[in-house]
């Protein structure tokens, strides 16, 4: 279905990804499209009491009932966005979250139902920064919410009134998401306090990586396209992957080797072949071998499958329900 859409020129990329191709579509275990409110309108029209929806834009789920009832689009969508995380935009603590939204013809009011907590202008207006590229515009299926002209007023000490939210309809697109699998990982982890390694972690890293790759090629007979080795130095640059400021010297390094291959068995075999070097390799040839610090034996840890998001694309549809399936279940009749 997605391949047909692609062939029809109805799939566009969202940067930084490039154009979609059939090979990427084939690699996905599963592809879902993000629904807007329209499938919910249809379910409500058909008399549903409870709707269990698949992947949907969070604001759309909340705005759906109001929009279905004819509430103005700008305030409804904006209210849906503010309420998507419950009381997060209020002074409520975790675990005591909830938000009451009242939508009027010109705007909406937001207030936490719990009497101890309050909505304030800063919290309510800040929520558009959350999980969104721009603080001013939010792209949704079928259009864009623009809050640039909004005014936020502290109506009571616990209620905020928002006016000026604008909904700009656009040609209907749905974002598609998909993950690929097919690779597996095994880990090796050692602690290192050897001062020669700590003095030049990147030299150590590059030497170790080169030795491990050579070892895998000679011991197992694989070529470089059949496996990946990634070394992460926790305590130095494991998180960033970048060179830290000059003079950075870690107290210790947690060296994690991530070995990736197309089966778990092969990833394990690769890690096992690498183990002696991972265990003993000094920073350069000719100096005494070290023994780095394992926390347990045996060293190899099956990490399991690699699930990677590979889609960041939108598909154009002629009708918001074109890609949606709805099943009605009469619970009473089933009993």
């Amino acid at each position: 279905m997605i391949k047909q859409k692609l062939a029809d020129g109805k799939v566009a990329n969202l940067p930084p990804l490039g154009d979609l191709d059939d090979a990427t579509i084939d690699s996905c275990l599963h592809i879902v499209a993000l629904m807007g409110p329209e499938p919910y309108f249809a379910a409500l029209e058909a008399g549903a009491d409870i709707i269990i929806g698949g992947r949907t834009s969070d604001p759309a789920v909340i705005a759906a009932f109001a929009l279905w009832k004819g509430a103005p689009a700008g305030p409804s969508w904006h209210a849906g966005k503010i309420a998507e995380c419950g009381g997060q935009s209020t002074t409520a603590n975790t675990g005591q979250r909830g938000l009451l939204i009242e939508i009027h013809k010109d705007g909406f009011d937001a207030q936490p139902p719990h009497p101890d907590f309050k909505a304030n202008v800063e919290g309510i207006s800040a929520h558009l920064l959350y999980e969104n590229k721009s603080p001013w515009r939010l792209t949704e299926p079928g259009g864009e919410l623009d809050v640039t002209a909004c005014e936020y007023v502290q109506l009571t000490d616990s209620t905020v009134r928002v006016t000026g939210s604008v909904w700009n309809p656009k040609p209907y697109t749905m974002k598609i998401e998909g993950a690929s699998a097919g690779q597996f990982q095994t880990l090796l982890i050692v602690g290192i306090a050897d001062p020669q390694v700590l003095a030049e972690p990147e030299v150590f890293h590059d030497h170790m990586l080169m030795r491990l790759k050579e070892r895998v090629k000679s011991a197992i007979g694989l070529d470089e396209s059949e496996f990946t080795i990634s070394l992460r130095m926790a305590g130095y640059n494991g998180l960033s992957g970048r060179t830290p400021p000059p003079g950075s010297k870690p107290l210790e390094i947690g060296l994690m080797g991530v070995f990736t291959a197309k089966t778990q068995a092969l990833a394990n075999e690769i890690a096992k072949a690498c183990n002696p070097y991972f265990f003993h390799m000094p920073i350069r040839l000719g100096i005494e071998a070290s023994s780095y610090g394992w926390a347990f034996t045996a060293g190899g840890l099956d990490r399991g499958p690699v699930y990677q998001f590979v889609l960041n694309h939108v598909v154009s549809v002629d009708d918001p329900l074109e890609l949606v399936r709805t099943t009605f279940i009469d619970v009473a009749a089933q009993q």
């Binding site: 920064l129 993950a179 990634s230 992460r232 990677q308």
Partner: protein, 45 residues
């Protein structure tokens, strides 16, 4: 890297794409939870 000043909140929002596909073989910060730390020393004029 995109910069969005929000004067009413005294906030500067900075958005940039992740360096690798989420969950891939080279993933270091799956939820981008620690990315904000690289911005803490930015001097705002």
């Amino acid at each position: 890297m995109l910069h969005y000043p929000v004067p009413s909140l005294k906030v500067l929002k900075i958005s940039y794409p992740r360096p690798t596909s989420q969950g891939g073989v080279e993933e270091r910060d799956l939820h981008s939870g620690q990315q904000y730390t690289y911005l803490l020393d930015l001097e705002l004029g």
